[in-house]
Amino acid sequence: MATSFSSATIPLHGSQENRLLLPPIRLAPSSSSFLGSTRSLTIPSSRRLYHAHAARRSPVVGVQEVVKDKKITNTLLITKEEGLVLYEDMILGRSFEDMCAQMYYRGKMFGFVHLYNGQEAVSTGFIKLLTQSDSVVSTYRDHVHALSKGVSARAVMSELFGKVTGCCRGQGGSMHMFSKEHNVLGGFAFIGEGIPVATGAAFTSKYKREVLKQDCEDVTIAFFGDGTCNNGQFYECLNMAALYKLPIIFVVENNLWAIGMSHLRSTSDPEIWKKGPAFGMPGVHVDGMDVLKVREVAKEAVTRARRGEGPTLVECETYRFRGHSLADPDELRDAAEKAKYAARDPITALKKYLVENKLANEAELKSIEKKIDELVEEAVEFADASPQPGRSQLLENVFADPKGFGIGPDGRYRCEDPKFTEGTAQV
């Protein structure tokens, strides 16, 4: 079954011999007398997740229990179609980011470019469960979130090249991917900035349901990193999301490094999932290199949110194979650590799972890879051939209001009233 994914032998942050990391810690709630009350929190759906933590002998808390339950009913975690969708999405993310690196070094892309290699399981695992009207908010490492959510590779590549056919017409850039159509609400350069914005989008879902009396089951997912979890806004939003019971999922992509600052050097208590219960929401830790485990946790969290039960904090243990950005020499990370995580490549793992469980054969997977390669190549050609923005675009879109004079009593823009621009307000 899912034994190829078994990370039961791997402690929380990596192998035993990695001297950077803390010794394995028991994460079961019962071990922390301070938090002892987590069991008494009346959050029914989370009990199953806590059981997963409690029962594990190894410190890794994945959702092994959930997975084992499924085994009893003798079904796999995914169907063939789902498996192929997941595989294709992860391959798209990986190929796209690799192509970005190539294009950057050729000078076609410029500025700050932050690549997502290695973390694809998190994006695919969560976003493939969402509908078009659900929202995603991300940080500067947002190319793959946009792709998973449905923004076309062409639009993202053109945006990175700064062309007018980009998803933001070249005005946003790598760090500011916005798409109203697919509800990608950014792309924020400041870490922690996206969290309150995501909380606001979730707030709108709830407002639509309760005040505007519309049918609205939209959830919002906020993706951010381990460094962000030391930022004040994160805590402010955990508080308010739990207080107002907002349909939001806070997904921490804990790749252990914030540029060159190790998570362990900067955080008093490095176990981020624990901060959820402190605010009254379940906190879950999952192996972020395993797309199926992430997907199981995501299903639970999304269902919770849609049912109106409130937010969830999910910490995904993951790793970025490349540096923080393409300008980062990446000298501080240990080669052994990188090798260890490279061995846990989520794409290789899913491929192995699909093949071993006879969900797909090598040929089918190869054809997907080929298709994606062609798609990405085509996206580059398209972006290359697209024109740069025209000069007049510089001054456009500062305001939604065409001339900045506001809206008149009749509900139309004042500048549309031909009499308006004659004369000014008099005594």
Binding site: Q171, F190, A201, M240, A400, P409, D417
Partner: protein
């Protein structure tokens, strides 16, 4: 009759069908009321504006500290919780960055938040959201995501509240493209501009003044109508004159009007312009006035360096240099953090005498 004159003033002379109807109404009402104008405090004007906009559009909601059960830290949101319920009037925890960001996110998703800062000094804790996620978003997303949000609250000096509660933020916010910055003076300004701000599809920073909240101003029937709103980006000439132009905003408009009275006694006719909108700045009105009077005195409460006055002076020098008969005069708050002692505070802020002196200097009546 005032109703009609004001109407034509506001519309720049245009009469649409709806305004004709209102004109007739104004005519009728002008005949039936002998004395004409009512009075309204700025506080009531703001309260009524928020109330009417909330009832007109269910997507409008209010959030901030103490806006609900406490009835508003300065009672601006009085009665709104009882009328609209806790789903539309949110008492937030003390988390400016958090709740401002939530407001911005809600605006991204289509709602129309009115976010109150207890004073704009506290907005510094949330300034990243006002500027980076609100002001810049329409541009960064190439028009896909606009942010119809209003950030409002008292700005500038109050009475004896010390350095950390007295800064004027007009210059800071007005320097950012993507924001609209409004500063009302009278009750009519407050009503009209706040209604325009709430309806506006862009982020608006609405700078009120704590000391003006309790002041009463005459208000026309037309301004009391629920569809009334003022244009953004247009200044108002509060008093016409021909010798010197005094431009200012917010509380200083009152001081400038008093100064104009004093100057009139000495034979100097001052034209007082109430900016109303700091961004977009009504350069056309300012320059037209300076070309008429040839002298400029610009007044503000905030710090002098890089202030609103500096921008106005630059604009006038760039566009109307050959019309100027005297160097431009700039009166701003003292270049120090606001002191506490009452006499020092008085010295740190522009007073009527300062405006009179500057105007006389511009008219070469004194050294």
């Amino acid at each position: 009759m005032w109703g009609i004159l004001r109407r034509s003033a506001v519309d720049g002379g245009g009469f649409s069908a709806s305004s004709l109807r209102k004109t007739r109404f104004a005519l009728v009402s002008a005949r039936s009321y002998a004395a004409g104008s009512k009075e309204m405090t700025v506080r009531d004007a703001l309260n009524s504006a928020i109330d009417e906009e909330m009832s007109a559009d269910p997507k409008v909601f209010v959030m901030g500290e103490e806006v609900g059960q406490y009835q508003g830290a300065y009672k601006i949101t009085k009665g709104l919780l009882e009328k609209y319920g806790p789903e539309r009037v949110y008492d937030t925890p003390i988390t400016e960055a958090g709740f401002t960001g939530i407001g911005v996110g809600a605006a991204y998703a289509g709602l129309k938040p009115v976010v109150e800062f207890m004073t704009f000094n506290f907005s510094m804790q949330a300034i990243d959201h006002i500027i980076n996620s609100a002001a810049k978003s329409n541009y960064m997303s190439a028009g896909q995501i606009n942010v119809p949000i209003v950030f409002r609250g008292p700005n500038g000096a109050a009475a004896g509240v010390g350095a950390q509660h007295s800064q004027c933020y007009a210059a800071w916010y007005a320097s950012v493209p993507g924001l609209k910055v409004l500063a009302p003076y009278s009750a009519e300004d407050a009503r009209g501009l706040l209604k325009a701000a709430i309806r506006d599809p862009d982020p608006v920073v609405f700078l009120e003044n704590e000391l003006l909240y309790g002041e009463s101003f005459p208000i026309s029937e037309e301004a009391l109508d629920s569809s009334f709103c003022l244009p953004i980006g247009k200044a108002k000439i509060e008093r016409e004159g021909k010798d010197v132009t005094i431009t200012t905003f917010s509380k200083m408009v009152g001081f400038a009007l008093k100064a104009a009275e004093k100057l009139a006694e000495e034979g100097i006719s001052a034209e007082v312009i109430n900016l109303r909108s700091i961004r977009p700045l009504d350069r056309a009105t300012i320059n037209a006035s300076v070309r008429k009077t040839s002298r400029l005195v610009t007044v503000e409460e905030g710090f002098p360096q890089h202030g609103v006055c500096a921008e106005i002076c630059a604009s006038v020098v760039e566009e109307s240099f050959s019309y100027l008969d005297a160097p431009v005069e700039r009166i701003a708050g003292a270049d120090v953090p606001m002191p506490y002692a009452a006499n020092l505070e008085r010295l740190a802020l522009p007073q009527v005498e300062d405006i009179v002196r500057a105007a006389k200097r511009a008219c070469y009546r004194s050294k």
